[in-house]
Amino acid sequence: MWSNLQRWRGVALVATALVATVWLAASNQLVLYIHPRYIVFTVIMAGIALVLVVAGLLARRGHRDDEDAPPARLPRLLSFLGLAIAAVIAITMVALPPATLTSATADQRSINSTTVGAQAQNVDTVASSPAGAFAKFTVVDWASLLRQTNDLAFYSGKPVDVVGFITVDPDDPDNVFYVSRFVVTCCAVDAQPVGIPVYYPNWTSTFKAGDWVEATGGFTANRSTTSAQGIALEPANVLAVEQPSEPYLY
């Protein structure tokens, strides 16, 4: 029993994780966990590993592991416990529906606590962009501009149309929320929440934190008295939408 468990636990865990990975890749949901640039590599390695798993299951054993005497009771117990924990993760990988990070993590990591990454928009280039360009701007683009300038004249005549999930502005939880997205560099672990403030009095009567919305409108001076944000989106419209298939931005 001990020796069989020692030998096959890795194959069982890897096989379960690989099935989950391939399933996610096939249903286009791998992006919930890793950056798209890793998808090809991940799928190739999963394929190779699956071949090795099958070969391992079909191969005769090279040497008997029960040459090693089973360890004392305590280490054995710890080993079982560790394996049980690992098994729980493996099982949830397959059994639970895949999910994006929630607004709990956005709150915990403090929205806009870091500047937006390398692909951020530059104020000087944007100032001369044609009006049509702004339709494609994401939460990240606007957040990077908001960090660079608070000049209201810069934002006038620039229509905003963004999709994101709602996180609460802790300074004015009733009237201001952020339309936010996670920015991912490698995998969900490093996701940084980025958002733009929206002034929407009594928004909690219509939405709740974590809801996905599409907000349109333009930036004006923030009418909230307690929010720390000088500029906020004055929404012409806020619509509940489905979570996009690629919830993270890169």
Binding site: L32, I44, L52, A55, G56, G62, A104, S110
Partner: protein, 354 residues
């Protein structure tokens, strides 16, 4: 002490005369039963997912995020671990005997210096390097030499250098500090551990026993079946550690507010400590950690960024879980302390000099 491969292996072992190498190609019936049970269990779990999806089932946000984060670490790391195991199999089974040993210098310091540069040819980040480092020990490297490789490789691997350059260019000496600092730490740590008179005692008993296992029946097993066997054994060691490391990394992320660390950013001493703690808990892959830390560059001092980039690839919560498969707890504590001190020193030099 560490100039030559220790003579621990490759002795005839009288304890195992006549392994039961069964020449019949048939598998035991119980294996088939368990395989069918396994496949049915996986199918059952997938059915559960279908039901959960249909019923609109959802967990509390924090628990859900804990799982999402842990699964994300597993999915991101597993391909690199597999690649590392494949490279380890190549080194142990397919490379001609003694090929690596032949051209390495005899002088221990030069020898470790060469070994620390192996990583330039291997685009594998830290967790994938563990199985490879294990393979090197089995193949006859001393523990200290293998550790030198393990510490340097994730920092000087080609992808890491390219991404660090893309993120920081040559600004503030961050890239140079990272490469030179990584090589220096690896060689210093390798030297320190080479002073230990009994290299084997640095290893876990199980792995040390595996290294002593005689290679006397190599002729009986084809290279292919030896490769498959090695894959089964290495996965059984590394994967449970990876899963547990992923869970701990996810748990810390859910519990520790990020803001605490970021507010410490502008103090030359505290920012270094904060960055080490961040590197420890975030456990992000060395191939891309430069992009991860880039947004912090405006609020942290360059030296602390360098510390993050040197410390993170070597020591983090997930790495310690995986390293524990090979090294004793005592060694890991020593390793963590030494690497922390040295990388803090590098950070301080960059902060005060550049």
């Amino acid at each position: 002490m560490s100039t030559r491969a220790p003579d621990r292996a490759r002795v005839d072992n009288p304890q195992h005369p006549g392994h039961d190498h069964d020449e019949r190609p048939r598998l035991p019936a119980s294996r088939w039963v368990w395989m069918i049970v396994g496949i049915l269990a996986l199918a059952g779990l997938l059915a559960v997912r279908g039901l959960a999806d249909g019923a609109g089932f959802s967990l509390p946000n924090q628990l859900q995020d804990l799982l999402t984060l842990s699964i994300s670490v597993v999915i991101e790391s597993l391909p690199f671990v597999i690649l590392g195991i494949l490279l380890s199999i190549i080194v142990q089974v397919w490379l001609p005997e003694g090929l690596l040993m032949r051209w390495l210098p005899r002088n221990p310091v030069l020898r470790r210096l060469c070994i620390s540069c192996f990583g330039i040819f291997l685009p594998v980040c830290e967790c994938g390097n563990v199985p490879l480092a294990r393979g090197l020990i089995v193949k006859g490297f001393t523990v200290a030499e293998s550790m030198t490789f393990l510490l340097a490789a994730p920092i000087i691997n080609p992808i890491t250098i390219v991404t660090t350059h893309q993120a920081f260019g040559f600004d503030n000496g961050i890239l140079v500090a990272r490469i030179i600092g990584g090589l220096a730490i690896a060689n210093i740590v390798g030297w320190l551990f080479s002073l230990h008179p009994q290299q084997d005692s640095l290893l876990t008993p199980r792995f040390a026993a595996e290294c002593r296992r005689p290679a006397d029946h190599e002729h009986e097993q084809s290279r292919w079946s030896k490769s498959v066997d090695l894959f089964v054994r290495e996965t059984s060691v590394i994967t449970p550690a990876l899963f547990i490391g992923a869970l701990v990394a996810g748990g810390i992320q859910v519990l520790v507010p990020r803001q605490v660390l970021v507010t410490l950013g502008s103090n030359p001493v505290w920012s270094i400590l904060a960055m080490m703690v961040l590197a420890f808990v975030i456990a992000v892959c060395s191939n891309v950690d430069a992009f991860f830390i880039l947004p912090f560059a405006s609020s942290f001092m360059p030296g602390s960024i360098a510390t993050f980039l040197v410390f993170g690839p070597i020591i983090d919560i997930k790495m310690l879980a995986i390293l524990r498969t090979t090294f004793t707890t005592r060694v890991l504590v020593q390793l963590t302390v030494i690497v922390a001190l040295l990388s803090a020193l590098i950070g301080a030099v960059v902060n005060f000099v550049v």
